[in-house]
Symmetry: D3
Subunit: 137 residues, 6 copies
């Protein structure tokens, strides 16, 4: 059977600041600029979750996108939407750059996917002009 | 010469239902949910057709995008736009999931491309939140 | 207090055909073109519901957008999403052009809004290139 | 000369929480739901600033959009981008709902416009599905 | 019958420069900045043409959007698409600012509309961040 | 450390014509159609620049996107924005098709990237329906 990729897009809104605890405020401000603002700022994040697998000859699905949506909501969106990425998310211990966030989301979703489909790619948009991609490499 | 990918985006609007003939209405409703509605529903589909080839040193084209558009219209859009994917499209005999549809479109476009360019990727969006990708694998 | 307009955007996917019962198939085809296809076609509709009212000095809301969303879901989206606009929607007896649909949606939402806010504008998009607006006039 | 409206779109990213100081945390949570999270959340805001005026027969401009952009940056974007709307913005003393924010932005921009153009409309988008409009009424 | 607005969106790609013939190159550069580049620059323009009228009780249309599209193509798009707005368009004698262009387009479309519908609004986007609106005032 | 791709999107507006100097005007018109208009036309180009590298364990960045933006502005955007691609850009000697342009942009950006990150992909959109991709192959 052909292998096809299917993608579900989800959104969440969160606060964060870029900040490395071992550094002074001055050093953080120097490296992270306005993103280091101690009073936080925030974004509407857009996340595209892409899984790949063989077409199921009976259903014509790779997997039911509702099932993918449920995995992504239960393991990611519920924890980060309307939250503070530095303070409220126990699986996000690193400085919440978009790069660190996409890697942490990968680790949340991959073990929860049904058998027979593999996580292929995450695209995480932080602003209309900046986004990151991760393929597990 | 460098190899570049060029993409043409097209749109079509179609009705469909997700339905497996060998199953009861109850079973279809259980597996496909509201998508099994016997009176149909529909979508604005957005299709990105990507071909790859060497730059032609004379024209600076991989291929004239008008030519790609004409192939896609004649072999796909004309048959599915303002049509019912279950009833009106003779090359679409499978349950018209987005996955089955993208594979069928691949088989329509690939043999009709000019020599020297290869079909690299199709992206088919069914809603703003759901899309599939196929690379012929 | 200042008067502000607030908008909630919702989506639904539906099948329809443009068809006037008193006319022959030929006449329907002549007037409505491909939109008259007897086997239906469909769209992803995007609806912007705009209400206007005074700011509430206590909450800073005109109204809670979750409440507006619930009204729109209960009175419109639940009835039309994954449905056939000609066959499945009891409050849609006219030929389901975008114009007739937006007027029928207006009549559904207006009487269900909380006191103190008025329905100001509906924008209903049928395709990326075509949309209608209604202000109750 | 004809009167034309011209619009400049700007973006900013900010943290906030919806919170009324005179209320208990429970009451705030009850009214504002997840938006009351004490650790904040945030958004990418998109603001369309529309001014109207007569065409200048010499330049063919209503006003130079670079000038409008500079007014909006100096009076709004510089103060709110990468900031906390509850803590960092001295002209934002109300609960930072989108409604209160758009009214406060109106008061910032209107007195700073050049003579001969009037502020006609602000559209402020908080998420892809929610936005507010204000015309000074 | 209810009055509804219907909109058709069209696109065109054109070159232009902002330039007032009676002024020196220095003065043009001072007022119009990079837009005065003597070797031209260009844009993908997006034009929303909105007409308003009573619903026709027989068809459920205000007017057939194909008819509106044909008027807009014949009177505007055919003349400006892949053209130079300063050199190639005989009905565009003014400095081709977006403001002057939208007024000239209004004069092209209005007299060509069918009876019973009125031109209500044009929105002309020059870049993702800049657009103008004209209502004939 | 994980390898992540990060993308910065930039925009520029330029005029061009498709034209091969060794050919007659008739031949150019025959091959390039309206794109050969001697008086030029133009576009709003959208360019996504994607680089890949290892996460830096200290900052959580692959690279600071402001640094990537500065490289792209200094080596590409400054030279092409509000310019004529045939006349004004000394590093663009080929016929300015989107394919030739994306290859030339690749050669501009690649040698200017900081050590440890590699240029992975460019996506260059010329219109909402046409875009090209280049991965240096």
């Amino acid at each position: 059977m052909p292998r096809v990729s299917v993608t579900r897009r989800v959104h969440f809104s969160a606060a964060h600041r870029l900040y490395r605890p071992g550094w002074s405020e001055e050093k953080n401000r120097e490296v992270f600029g306005e993103c280091a603002n101690p009073n936080w700022h925030g974004h509407n994040y857009e996340l595209d979750v892409t899984v790949e697998g063989e077409l199921d000859g009976e259903t014509g699905y790779v997997l039911d996108l509702k099932r993918l949506r449920d995995v992504v909501h239960a393991s990611v969106v519920r924890d980060v939407d309307h939250r503070n990425l530095n303070l409220d998310v126990d699986w996000m211990s690193e400085n919440p750059t978009t790069e660190n966030l996409v890697v942490a989301i990968w680790e949340r979703i991959r073990p929860r996917l049904p058998e027979g489909v593999e996580l292929k790619r995450l695209v995480l948009r932080e602003t209309p002009r900046n986004y990151v991609e991760y393929e597990g490499g």
